[in-house]
């Protein structure tokens, strides 16, 4: 990868020994980074290593308990978000933070909308400015539209537009690509490199090493809230970084599987939802992993939602072990043995304010009821067992999931569904925001579950994951299944062709 010429420029933003505690939890023990003008620095670390905490300190959201901060060599403090912004720091948070009632354009320019001669907001000018930003990012989006109901990917793109429009000296991006697929990622990188070449300093956080090595000039590694090391990208390797992150070697290879698929468990026939997708026909057998691939917005999530009954399908049927499910009724899907790990864990997967125990037990409410009354102890025991099995990093089962790191939250969602011992598990983006170690674990877990005869439908935007895990790959394009590929036929090229709708790829 090309290294920037300015990589040896002066240190722009330096943080040393940043400490942040939340009551008894030490989220960040020694946050240390040195960010130079004209470079892209990647921050790597396991889930819960304290990356987002460091970001939030830089953003002025959290007040640090200790640490020294300098900007351009002068000591500085980030007492508030406004303070941090004024210093020239612009942040894309891990989770999109849009205002659903405001227009896309206003979301980008809130607080600094262009004004007309009367000192009032010039809405037309604002929309034009937004449109030109989107052109720069290569994304078609109507700036006048309300932000409500946008997909996670679209929301993330707006966040990016917002951040770059600030023309900040320091751009911090906390997993900006987690919800994006190849095309958008590539465009984001192009913009990021352009900003770097213009002299900005960029802090980039991602769990995807291909991205990190493609983009970053240097990599800083964190573990357990502490600074570990910094390397030039050209002088290190994925294995070395992973070793430092995890403190041991990680076998990042996908688990080997050669189970014979059993009888058909999930049968989807002619499923359709007007204006969204149609003619979805496929089956998943016991012990089989079927991946649903495609570009962002291809309609994969919508299919999964319709199967589980969150949305009502307008045509076709879903049956589990031959029993047809009532459309639009998640209870019937759960009763039939379907589990669904949704893509947006914060809004759909978890009740953020409830404890780990309560969240895990939510799917078990009826199972542990005797004469209609819940057996608290059995419930808690089961929840604890699954949390332990998945090695969720928590201080107590009574900790609110809101205080967990993103990856650990994802594990709680998985635990919640595994606890129901489903026959079919639908997983939408199973490893979004999960670190390598856990990712390997999740992959091993999925493989193991399939090995025990569970039918698994996996939606993923990560091509390696799709190719590495799936027995069969269904590729969606514009609401239709454009290809059904056996493991042997599935290659990056065949999947991408089908996903982009290129004629020659259609089977």
């Amino acid at each position: 990868m090309e290294a920037s010429a300015a990589a040896q420029g002066p240190v722009l933003l330096a943080v040393h020994g940043a400490l942040k505690t939340f009551g008894p939890v030490v989220a960040l023990a020694d946050g240390t980074i040195e960010l130079r003008a004209g470079e892209i620095l990647a921050l790597c670390g396991e889930n819960g290593a304290g990356k987002s905490t460091l970001v939030k300190i830089l953003a002025g959201v959290h007040a640090p308990d200790a640490g020294t901060f300098t900007m351009d060599g002068a000591p500085c403090a980030f007492r508030s978000v406004a303070d941090s912004k004024a210093t020239g720091i612009s942040v894309i948070y891990q989770e999109p933070t849009l205002f659903p009632d405001l227009s896309v354009a206003e979301n980008i320019f809130i607080g600094r909308q262009p004004k007309n001669r009367l000192g009032l907001i010039d809405h037309a000018q604002m929309r034009r400015d937004a449109a030109s930003l989107f052109t720069r990012l290569g994304v078609p989006m109507n700036p006048g539209r309300r932000a409500e109901g946008l997909s996670i990917a679209d929301q993330q793109l707006i966040e990016i537009a917002k951040a770059i429009s600030l023309d900040a000296k320091v751009l911090v991006m906390d997993e900006p690509t987690a919800a994006l697929s190849g095309a958008e990622v590539e465009r984001l990188f192009k913009v990021a490199r352009a900003l770097r070449d213009a002299g900005a300093a960029i802090l980039f956080i991602s769990h995807r090493f291909d991205e990190v090595f493609a983009l970053a000039d240097r990599i800083t590694v964190m573990r357990d809230g502490r600074y570990i090391s910094t390397h030039r990208t050209t002088e290190t390797s994925v294995a070395a970084i992973v070793h430092e992150m995890v403190g041991r070697d990680v076998d990042a290879l996908f688990p080997a599987r050669n189970a014979e698929p059993g009888p058909i468990v999930l049968q989807v026939s002619g499923l359709g939802r007007r204006g969204v997708f149609r003619d979805i026909d496929f089956c998943v057998r016991a012990g089989e992993i079927v991946a649903l691939a495609g570009l962002v917005g291809a309609g994969r999530t919508e299919v999964a939602r319709a199967i589980f009954g969150i949305d009502k399908s307008t045509s076709g049927t879903v049956s589990v072990n031959g029993h047809e499910l009532a459309p639009g009724n998640p209870q019937s899907a759960i009763a039939a043995g379907i589990g669904f790990v949704p893509e947006d864990r914060r809004k759909q997967g978890l009740v953020m304010d409830l404890s780990v125990a309560r969240n895990t037990a939510l799917t078990l409410r009826r199972r542990f009821s005797r004469f209609g009354l819940i057996d608290f102890r059995a419930e808690k025991r089961t929840a604890a067992t699954w949390a332990r099995t998945l090695q969720v990093k928590i201080s107590s089962m009574d900790q609110a999931v809101a205080t967990l790191s993103g990856g650990n939250q994802q594990k709680v969602v998985l635990a919640k569904w595994l606890a129901t011992e489903p026959k079919v598990l639908i997983i939408d983006e199973p490893t979004r925001g999960i670190d390598v170690g856990t990712k390997a674990e999740v992959h091993r877990l999925i493989a193991e579950l399939a090995g025990h005869g569970m039918a698994i439908l996996m939606i993923s935007s990560e091509l390696p994951e799709v190719l590495g895990m799936a027995d069969r790959v269904l590729v969606m394009h514009e609401g239709l299944i454009s290809a059904a590929l056996e493991r042997s036929e599935a290659t990056p090229e065949s999947v991408m062709h089908a996903a982009t709708g290129s004629k020659e790829a259609a089977t």
């Binding site: 508030s80 205002f99 607080g111 449109a131 989006m141 109507n142 590539e186 204006g275 997708f277 570009l295």
Partner: protein, 343 residues
């Protein structure tokens, strides 16, 4: 990578002006108001006589001010249930001032009333912002506390129109081009607020806060100051309404203005203000206030059995939110169809 994805999503589309107009949340309530006035006037021409018009406007004036203030608060995903009590305290305060100093200039009394209201409103704001607790609970508390203070202060004492200077009472009698002076004042306030909320950065911040308070905090909007200001302005408007109340009605005492709070919220809701913040306009709320007041007058003018009147008002409120909901569902569906795939 390919650039194919570009074609999978629709580009910006210019919404027609007519479409935008039809999507206005204020539209249904405006249509309802116009229809109501026309029907009533057709049956009872007296309804639109100069005196009838004047009464209609005067009736809506106080509620319009309160609804406009409440909108500022509701837009930030808060609520102020104590407005009735604030109005009562200020109205009684106005009576007390004139009883003590009958020669007090009217503008000074207006100023004092607005200031007193702002003080009480800022107490709500301070408690909500500082303790970061739900304003519904806080203002339910201050509803009781302010009312208690008013009761303690006033006791059985009341001040009557005769105790106040005639010029003060004439504020709600005299007209400017057929419009009562206090209505002109209220309209001016509503317009200023409307322009502020639509066209000022800090005004737009209020919508952002109501839309997602956590996101607003992460984005660096000074949530506390903005919400505090909204409460303060609302209090000030309730104060102004209190002074105007004293100008218009006969008696001000311990119970003046009690029970107003839910009517005010209802007016805002009927005017298309979303109860969970983030959207709605002052103009809409003001029209909602006019509609709710007009319906009572017109039912009387139509000689509808008075026992039915309250039930009809209830039906009207529900219909208004129902229409609002249907309109937004239709809009969402429209959006989906426009952005969705042709499958």
């Amino acid at each position: 990578m390919s650039t194919q994805a570009t074609q999978t999503r629709p580009g910006p589309s210019g919404a027609s002006r007519l479409g935008a107009l039809l999507r206005l949340r204020e539209l249904p309530v405006t249509v309802a108001l116009v229809a109501l006035v026309i029907v009533t006037a057709a049956v009872n021409p007296l309804f639109l006589s100069p005196q009838g018009m004047k009464d209609l406007m005067l009736n809506a004036t106080i509620m319009m001010l309160l609804a406009a203030g409440q909108t500022m608060v509701i837009v930030t995903r808060n609520i102020d249930l104590s407005v009735g009590s604030i109005l009562g305290l200020v109205a009684f305060g106005t009576g007390s001032i004139f009883a003590a100093v009958p020669t007090m200039p009217i503008w000074l009394v207006l100023l004092v009333g607005v200031g007193f209201g702002a003080l009480l409103g800022s107490l709500n704001g301070l408690l909500t912002v500082w303790a970061k607790v739900p304003s519904l609970v806080i203002t339910l508390g201050t509803l009781y506390v302010f009312r208690g203070v008013n009761n303690g202060w006033a006791g059985p004492r009341q001040f009557f129109a005769g105790d106040r200077p005639e010029a003060f009472g004439n504020l709600s009698v005299d007209t400017l081009l057929g419009v009562p002076i206090i209505t002109v004042l209220a309209l001016a306030v509503v317009i200023v607020l409307a322009v502020y909320l639509a066209g000022a950065r800090s005004g737009r911040d209020l919508y952002a806060i109501g839309s997602d308070p956590e996101a607003a905090r992460l984005f660096g909007i000074n949530t506390s100051t903005r919400v505090f200001t909204a409460f303060l302005v609302n209090g000030a408007l309730a104060g102004l309404a209190g002074v105007l109340y004293a100008s218009r009605f006969n008696a001000v005492g311990a119970t003046t203005g009690s029970g107003l709070e839910l009517d005010v919220v209802a007016a805002a809701v009927v005017g298309g203000v979303a109860i969970f913040g983030g959207s709605g306009t002052v103009i809409g709320a003001a029209i909602g206030a006019i509609l709710l007041n007009t319906i009572t007058s017109s039912l009387t003018a139509l000689r509808v059995d008075k026992f039915w009147q309250q039930a009809i008002v209830g039906v009207l409120i529900i219909t208004a939110i129902l229409i609002d909901r249907l309109a937004s569902l239709r809009h969402a569906k429209h959006l989906r169809e426009r952005e969705g795939r042709n499958v």
